[in-house]
């Protein structure tokens, strides 16, 4: 902003022969400025438009028909029952939380370890090769991940754990964990890279080993950046739909072990919305589930954002 304000007075005082050119240039600049500003603000517009659409579709259900206590604390999801419709999302919420939780148990050590290795323990072509490969991992479509869950992981889990069925929390967690790793790696690596070299040099000069440096100096210094990386990974895992739809077994229940099948909030919306009469209670209830999901990911992203902000303010 300050740079641009400096440019305009200069143009105004430029010699007469350059004047027209400069004015045309500044007009073009204004258009470009406006375009860039508009695209910057468009994100806000889209977020609010989407939230408004989801919330307004769900509002009639939320404010007039929904029993808040039932919606949040009952595991009974019976949207198509003829005798007794019930819209409890607890089991779906438990499904999302359990799969995401397991995914993070897998993805956080793997992602942060990988970020540390790429940032501190390797260089040159190995580093570049690893970074490109991890970015490729992020480019695999989620339906392909889901297919791997269905065709590869399912028989493997039955074989290894003697489970009755391989479509469960474990399967979905592993798949989602692997999907979250690239985000954690790339943001985590940036955070480690941002630690000034003087920190490393000082630590090494004091006789610390590279591992001691990483553990006692780099991780604390990059702490908030690494936490943001993890939370963005969580956001990715909560919002993922297709892979969990295929890998978790799609059963409405609160899991008691990683080998139980579950159903997530996202999978419920994906599976049921297409066949629901627009405007019906069921339709609106699915949008209410969407609002719940939105609040959940919004909370996670906001937390990530506040942490990053906390870091830059320091």
């Amino acid at each position: 902003m300050t740079a641009r304000q400096d440019v305009n007075p200069q143009q105004a005082t430029s010699p007469p022969d350059d004047d027209r050119k400069a004015r045309a240039g500044s007009a073009l600049e204004r258009v470009i400025e406006f375009a860039i500003k508009a695209s910057g603000f468009s994100a806000i517009l889209f977020v609010f438009a989407i939230f408004f659409f989801v919330f307004s579709t769900a509002s009639e259900f939320i404010f007039e028909k929904m029993d808040f206590v039932e919606f949040l604390t009952s595991p009974e999801w019976y949207p198509t029952s003829l005798s007794n419709k019930r819209y409890g999302t607890l089991a779906l919420l438990a499904g999302t939380v359990s799969v995401t939780g397991l995914a993070m148990i897998i993805a956080v050590p793997l992602g942060l370890g990988s970020a540390l290795f790429i940032s501190e323990f390797t260089s040159g072509s190995v580093k570049e090769g690893l970074k490109i490969t991890i970015e490729l991992l992020a480019a695999i479509p989620s339906v392909v991940w889901g297919f791997i869950g269905l065709a590869v992981m399912n028989p493997l889990i039955i074989e290894v754990f003697d489970a009755p069925i391989g479509l469960n929390v474990l399967n979905g967690g592993i798949i989602l964990g692997l999907m979250s790793v690239p985000i954690i790696v790339s943001i985590g690596e940036d955070a480690l890279k941002a630690v000034p070299d003087s920190f490393r040099e000082a630590s090494l000069a004091l006789g610390a080993t590279r591992w001691q440096t990483a553990r006692k100096v780099l991780f604390p210094a990059a702490r908030s950046g690494l936490l943001a990386a993890v939370l963005l990974g969580v956001g990715r895992a909560i919002g993922e739909t297709m892979a969990v739809l295929m890998a978790t077994g799609h059963a409405v229940q609160i899991p008691s072990s990683p080998l139980d099948s579950v159903r997530t909030l996202t999978a419920t919306i994906a599976a049921e919305l297409g066949e629901t009469a627009a405007g019906s209670d069921h339709y609106q209830a699915l949008f209410a589930v969407g609002v719940l999901l939105f609040l959940l990911t919004f909370g996670v992203n906001l937390a990530a954002d506040l942490i990053v902000r906390g870091r830059s303010a320091r």
Binding site: S83, N84, P164, A251, E272
Partner: protein, 292 residues
């Protein structure tokens, strides 16, 4: 679209207007039959309409879904010529026809639908009753292990019954709920709800503990179709085309088309064709059971 366009130009105009579906309506000597109703029947109804358009080029059948109730309501309001239904008309629907000054609706059974219950091929279950199925699948049912049913399944850890079901938007799901769990029944939570019948069959084939259900078209020799009895201890009926067509098999239903009074003219020709071998072959292809 009553503009008169001579000669070859018309085809060009038609090509241009095809998006607006103007061509069929400009063809005034063509009879249009409106056909609406059951989502269970919508695929087979569409296949009938498509094939019939080749048999009789001057009749166009317009098919839409929406559910049995929607179709019957449209028939009562005079919006359609033929209503599709996967259930019989209710007395109150007959009443409201009378109120609208219409003659009684006539029911034509055009196909039958049966649900086969599958278990893994190593499962020794010889027969299950509808009550036992309700105990396994129904909300409040206490049967959670194969031992509860007096069956021991080899290769099944803890003898836990893995219930495979369908997603709630499936017609098969609704039909199973109605016939097995009763009009007001609901499924027990925790069943694995599959997207399609093929997924159910695949999963049951590979899971010793599993039980699943699907339309009859999906049965194969890699899994075991259970013999079902209507009552505990009663004689069981093996699901096949004959037992389903005759109605002896307990989890079967008729699929109907309704007309106002006896079908006449184009509608009668269409229904006759549906019940002919050509029409009934489409029923078999769609995974239902032919009636003739």
């Amino acid at each position: 679209m009553t503009i008169i366009v001579p000669g070859k130009r018309r085809y060009l105009l038609c090509a241009g207007l095809i998006v607006l579906a103007a061509c069929s309506s400009s063809n005034s000597d063509r009879t249009v039959l409106q056909n609406k109703g059951s989502d269970t029947l919508v695929n087979v109804a569409q296949a009938w309409a498509e094939n019939y358009s080749r048999v009789k080029t001057d009749v166009a059948v317009v098919v839409s879904g929406g559910g049995s109730g929607t179709g019957i309501a449209a028939l009562i309001n005079g919006k359609v010529d033929i209503a599709n239904a996967s259930r019989e008309m209710k007395p109150e629907e007959h009443e409201s026809m009378k109120k609208n000054g219409l003659i009684a609706a006539v029911q034509h059974t055009v196909a039958r639908d049966a649900i086969v219950v599958f278990v893994h091929k190593d499962n020794p279950a010889a027969q299950l009753s509808v009550q036992q199925l309700a105990c396994v699948y129904g909300e409040g049912g206490k049967c959670s292990t194969w031992t509860d049913l007096g069956i021991e399944v080899p290769g099944c850890a803890k003898q836990e019954i893995i219930r495979i079901s369908r997603q709630s938007n499936s017609g098969t799901y609704v039909f199973f709920r109605e016939t097995v769990l009763g009009k007001t029944g609901d499924f027990k939570l925790g069943s694995r709800d599959m997207q399609g019948s093929k997924d159910v069959v695949d999963l049951v084939t590979h899971t010793p503990c599993a039980i699943g259900y699907s339309g009859m078209g999906y049965a194969n020799e890699k899994l075991k179709s259970v013999c079902v009895s209507a009552n505990d201890g009663g004689a069981c009926v093996t699901p096949n085309a004959e037992t389903a067509a005759s109605g002896v098999y307990p989890i079967a239903r008729g699929l109907y088309m309704y007309t106002i009074g006896e079908a006449e003219g184009a509608a009668k020709d269409y229904l006759d064709w549906i019940l002919s071998p050509a029409g009934q072959a489409i029923v078999t292809q769609s995974g239902f059971i032919p009636v003739n």
